[in-house]
């Protein structure tokens, strides 16, 4: 509740351009995710521009990204195919997948750097066509995996060049604010070649923020960053989300995706799954309770069979049991009571939690097994 109040106060203080609620879409573009305000409260607090991103009147209500059966081939090789999803304004969308799955090619395609071979897409309100390339690139920003900085130039000179390319008004001020947002204001005059990999990554992020994009594509933004710097980037992403910036995040750090993303998609040439991390876990894995006792039960079947919300059980070691349950909140008290009645010395009863990593590995393993068959 206290976070909600803080968030409301902050929103009231901010001069905002109203963003209309997102329209319902076939693949369920969610409204801004709840429960993110704690992180937002710790934001860097001095990001590029105040207020929310101005969503053009013509695109209000429409998704920031809308992709339908998109595909890209390089000759006979399929980079990705039949990819469809929609992303709302202000959503942080995680794009996961193994190496070579087509993540970077998808980003490049949506960023108008390469042309799709099939399907269609709308990016920031514009159809993805060669004629709209400039208009789309004005509204988006891409931070590639490799920072791609001019190493002999200073940080400020690098950003100055890109401020010109984006035709940013008042570039000096914008550069200053972008550098402060990534905590690099004191390194503005250092040559990029003298910076560590992590600092270069931060310069690349500052560069991506210069144009105040509606849609920001971040390709592995925390690769090579130390934990503190990575946390700063996470906070910045939270801050951008609050301002209505849509973030398309490709990452290999699954805990990062789980912490930051409203929804994630797992790509392995084709889109394997899409949804909120919790939904994916529930969809892929049965809910279970892990029970540990001091000594093995003499009649475990007699203890667990017939308990409400318990669908079955199996051994997990000598004195361990895994119960498949439909509702842990009902099953856990029932199992506890049954164990006590049976005179068992209970060490622990806990709900087994599957991480996004489990989901990811399960899907990738399924693909690997399918390709072996």
């Amino acid at each position: 509740m206290i976070y909600l109040i803080r968030w409301l106060i902050r929103m009231l203080r901010r001069p905002t351009v109203p963003v209309e609620p997102l329209a319902a879409s076939p693949v369920g573009v969610p409204a801004a995710a709840p429960g993110r305000d704690e992180a937002a409260a710790r934001t860097l607090g001095h990001f590029v521009s105040a207020g929310r991103v101005a969503v053009p009147r013509t695109t209000q209500g429409a998704p920031a990204l809308s992709v339908h059966s998109l595909g890209k081939r390089f000759g006979d090789r399929i980079a990705f195919q039949d990819v469809s999803f929609e992303i709302g304004y202000g959503e942080v969308f995680g794009f996961l997948g193994p190496n070579g799955a087509g993540k970077t090619t998808t980003v490049r395609t949506l960023g108008t750097l390469i042309a799709p071979t099939s399907g269609s897409a709308m990016v920031a309100g514009f159809p993805l066509t060669p004629e709209n390339g400039v208009a789309i690139r004005r509204r988006i920003s891409i931070m590639p995996e490799s920072p791609g900085l001019y190493l002999r130039l200073s940080v400020a000179e690098n950003l100055g060049c890109f401020a010109d390319l984006y035709e940013v008004a008042d570039p000096k001020d914008r550069i200053g604010r972008a550098l402060r947002a990534v905590n690099l204001a004191d390194r503005a005059h250092d040559a990029c070649g003298t910076l560590s990999k992590g600092l270069r990554q931060r310069v690349a992020l500052a560069r991506a923020l210069l144009s105040d994009p509606q849609v920001l594509f971040l390709d592995e933004p925390t690769a090579g960053l130390d934990p503190v710097a990575a946390r700063d980037v996470h906070d910045l992403i939270d801050d951008l989300r609050q301002r209505g910036v849509t973030i398309f995040l490709t990452t290999h750090r699954l805990e990062e995706a789980e912490r930051l993303c409203d929804r994630v998609a797992i790509l392995n040439t084709t889109l394997r799954t899409i949804g909120r991390p919790s939904e994916l876990r529930d969809h892929l894995f049965a809910r279970t309770l892990a029970v540990k006792t001091l000594v093995p039960l003499t009649d475990p079947d007699g203890v667990f069979a017939g308990l409400s919300a318990v669908d079955g059980w199996h051994h997990d070691g000598a004195a361990g049991y895994v119960l498949s349950v439909s509702d842990p909140a009902v099953a856990a008290p029932a199992a506890t009571r049954a164990l006590v009645t049976a005179g068992a010395d209970v060490l622990s009863i806990s709900e087994s939690r599957h991480s996004l990593e489990d989901v990811y590995l399960e899907l990738v393993n399924q693909d690997q097994e399918a390709s072996r068959r």
Partner: protein, 240 residues
């Protein structure tokens, strides 16, 4: 298609800053014309006045047109493939910049220093001739039409060399290959100017006018041809 001056200027200024931070680029650009200058200077400064009759049939000044043909080739050949190799091309192409703007910025960044160096070397040569050569030699060399041809053809040849270099750079996958091909591509211009300088091809007003017109057309076409050769997707993915 409208060209954004600011984006062109952005690329141009970035390139000049890179030259400034990497002094070796300028040194390499200056050294070559200076070496080129030694032979004609020695010839002119050591000639006796009696040689002025012989020089009157040659066009030593035009020999120096090889400088604007050769100097920008190296810069132009690096312009696209160099960015690609150092990983800076993708972030630039991800901005709203059009390929024409990108190429124009790159071309200007090679054109301006090449022109400055070519004219500076010419001015240095003329000053040396005026100050140190025998008066007869000086008057045999410093002829109005030759000077005019030098002034006129320097930018035309430099521009042509730059567009050829950039076109090669946009299609190459290796900096070294692009450099060598660009140098080779500028050799025909050098050969023609040398043959004219040595009076093998007799220079006339008509030839100069025709040559200038052809170069002007080639330079104008160069931008279009180079733009067509610039394939954003191939440059990003290395395919096609």
């Amino acid at each position: 298609m409208s060209v954004s001056k600011r984006r062109v200027r952005g690329i141009f200024r970035k390139e000049l800053r890179e030259y400034r931070h990497n002094g070796n680029i300028i040194v390499a650009m200056v050294i070559f014309p200076l070496i080129f200058l030694i032979q004609p200077l020695l010839t002119v400064l050591t000639e006796a006045t009696s040689a002025s009759n012989g020089l009157a049939h040659e066009h030593v000044l035009l020999y120096m047109l090889a400088i604007p043909a050769l100097v920008p080739a190296a810069l132009a050949s690096y312009s696209v493939v160099g960015e690609r190799q150092q990983g800076t091309l993708e972030p630039v192409l991800a901005t709203p910049i059009r390929r024409e703007e990108f190429l124009l910025g790159k071309a200007l960044a090679a054109f301006v220093p090449s022109l400055a160096i070519s004219y500076a070397v010419l001015a240095f040569f003329l000053a040396c001739v005026e100050l140190f050569a025998h008066p007869g030699i000086a008057s045999a060399l410093l002829r109005g039409p030759d000077l005019l041809a030098q002034l006129l053809f320097t930018p035309l040849l430099a521009a042509w060399s730059i567009w050829v270099g950039i076109a090669i750079s946009a299609r190459s996958s290796d900096v070294r290959v692009a450099g060598q091909l660009s140098l080779l591509a500028s050799l025909p211009s050098v050969a023609v100017t040398t043959l004219i300088a040595l009076d093998v091809i007799h220079p006339t007003f008509g030839l100069a006018l025709g040559g200038a017109a052809v170069l002007l057309v080639l330079d104008a076409m160069g931008w279009r041809i180079t733009s067509a050769a610039f394939d954003r997707e191939r440059l990003i993915t290395g395919t096609r």
